[in-house]
């Protein structure tokens, strides 16, 4: 592969065009934390890190249903599931008030490793097909996926190949991942990118990294989302309160939190 020569004149024009495009919302959304950087970005990896039970599935349902409702035309979502079957996934929706909206708008390429895992090679081909045929791909959950079995080098190799698919097909990829065992619910420190389970390479490769963290105060649970990495996009607010709606089993509102006030809450909560 040859290195492309760089023309200053063309370079400026291209950069300007990219800047204009970066401000366009190409994947429609109504979610405030996504609006901060104009929705999921094409050809970009979006990594969501959280503890088990931190609300990743709720978050997944939230972004999933948001995509289904706000999508344009026949855009199709690809869902790669490593922990549950398609049936389990849909039963979640049947239980909620979002069932009608989901099934009405449903246009999904669904694949579950639980239903039919063959081999890394064969399944990677299926994953590539999903990228080809979908307009956005959700990967839940990277750290429990069979692709992630094996040595550290194998995991990094898979991540590089995954990133290759994102760039090749210019589709947004939304990846969910667990934290490692050091990160704990009652810990007095905020969860950071490096708390991800397995290789940290995924954080370096991702353009956007979000941390889902719940704070338990007495009997109440406050779910928050922090944007900790936003490459190529300016983000004004980085901390959001996610309001859980029991009926729809999704987050029905995301409120921007002033960081100074959030910090004060966090410090005081650590003194309890």
């Amino acid at each position: 592969m040859s290195i492309k020569s760089f023309s200053p004149k063309n370079g400026l024009a291209v950069a300007k065009a990219r800047l204009v495009e970066s401000k366009k919302m190409l994947i429609k959304t109504a979610l405030k934390f996504l609006l901060e950087h104009n929705g999921f970005r094409p050809a970009a990896m979006h990594l969501i890190i959280g503890l088990s039970g931190a609300g990743k599935s709720t978050f997944f349902r939230t972004v999933g249903i948001d995509y289904q409702i706000n999508k344009e035309g026949h855009d199709r979502a690809g869902i790669w599931y490593s922990e549950e079957s398609e049936n389990d996934f849909e039963v979640h929706f049947v239980k909620t008030s979002m069932a009608e909206a989901y099934f009405l708008n449903k246009d999904i390429n669904f694949y579950s490793e639980v239903d039919g895992w063959e081999s890394k090679k064969a399944d990677f081909a299926k994953l590539e097909k999903m990228f080809k045929e979908s307009d956005i791909v959700f990967f839940d959950n990277l750290t429990t996926s069979s692709f992630y079995e094996g040595s550290y080098n194998e995991q990094v190799y898979f991540l590089r190949k995954l990133k290759g698919l994102v760039k090749k097909y210019k589709k947004p990829l939304v990846v969910f991942a667990h934290t490692d065992s050091k990160a704990k619910e009652g810990a007095k420190a905020l969860i950071e990118q490096n708390d991800i389970r397995g290789p940290k390479t995924i954080c370096n490769l991702s353009e956007f990294v979000y941390i889902l963290q719940q704070f338990h105060v007495g009997s109440e649970i406050k779910s928050t989302l922090r944007i900790v990495k936003n490459r190529g996009q300016e983000v004004e607010t980085k901390v959001f309160f996610l309001n859980y709606d029991k009926k729809s089993s999704t987050y029905n509102d995301a409120v921007k939190l002033p960081f100074s006030q959030f910090k004060m809450f966090f410090e005081q909560r650590n003194k309890l």
Binding site: K188, G218, F241, V255, K256, P258, Q261, F265, N270, K271
Partner: protein, 248 residues
């Protein structure tokens, strides 16, 4: 001419250190002014208004030019000379009286004072050294509070850095008052870090360098679940308000 209109004054220039420089002792004046030399470099002197300054200079001039033992200064006389108002004269005299650096001394007392100071210079110059000796005698003896600091360390919330901390504090703590303050600072710090994980509590050696920061700290009450939730709710309320403002 009423008595009230006349000030009989003698200017007595007096410096507590050296050299001593006195005017002649007066024996008939009603009052004497006792002015330390360093008054002329002091903030009192520089804060005199223009009119008051003129009055002071005139008082000094008349005193220094006159060979008589006492000088009668007629207020109106000064006023006419300086063309200043009466208030300036009154104010100058009052300021001089009110300032602790300057005393009006009664006649009999002034004579004794002047003679005493002259005797100090002429007869026993070594007396001048006396106050210095006294000062050196009065210097508090250097007491080591090492033992007490080690006792206080027992209440410190993290038991690391004792040796260095005690060494530093032994150097810094010089009297009982400071020792009490240190005890308060340790208590304050202990409360402020209660419930914190050990890695967030200073080593004793680090605390020794900043213990005074915890003297006047407002030790907050331990938060309650309600107060913490209220902080979160406040953050949400502020966030919603921010969003509303942005919409507008």
């Amino acid at each position: 001419m009423s008595k009230q209109q006349v000030f009989k004054i003698k200017v007595l220039l007096w410096d507590k250190d050296s050299p001593y420089d006195f005017g002649q002792s007066g024996d008939k004046g009603k009052f004497f002014l006792k002015i330390p030399h360093n008054f002329f470099n002091s903030v009192y002197f520089h804060n005199l208004s223009g009119g008051q300054f003129k009055v002071l200079l005139e008082l000094l001039r008349r005193t220094s030019e006159c060979n008589r033992n006492d000088i009668e200064i007629h207020r109106n006389n000064i006023r006419m000379t300086l063309k200043c108002n009466r208030t300036d004269i009154e104010m100058t005299l009052n300021i001089l009286r009110d300032l602790k650096a300057i005393d009006f001394i009664e006649e009999n007392f002034a004579n004794k004072e002047v003679n005493k100071e002259i005797n100090k210079i002429n007869k026993k110059p070594e007396v001048l050294q006396l106050p210095k000796k006294k000062i050196s005698n009065n210097k508090p003896k250097k007491i080591s509070f090492k033992k007490q600091i080690e006792d206080l360390y027992e209440n410190y919330p993290r038991k690391i850095g004792k040796k260095k901390g005690v060494e530093t504090l032994s150097r810094l703590i010089k009297d009982e008052d400071q020792l009490k303050s240190l005890s308060i600072a340790i208590k304050n710090y202990e409360i402020s870090v209660s419930g914190s994980e050990p890695q967030f509590i200073k080593h004793f050696s680090s605390f020794a360098n900043c213990w005074e920061d915890y003297l006047e700290i407002n030790v907050e009450e331990k938060p309650t679940e309600e107060s913490v939730l209220a902080l979160f709710d406040e953050a949400v309320r502020m966030g919603r308000e921010m969003e509303k403002n942005n919409e507008h």
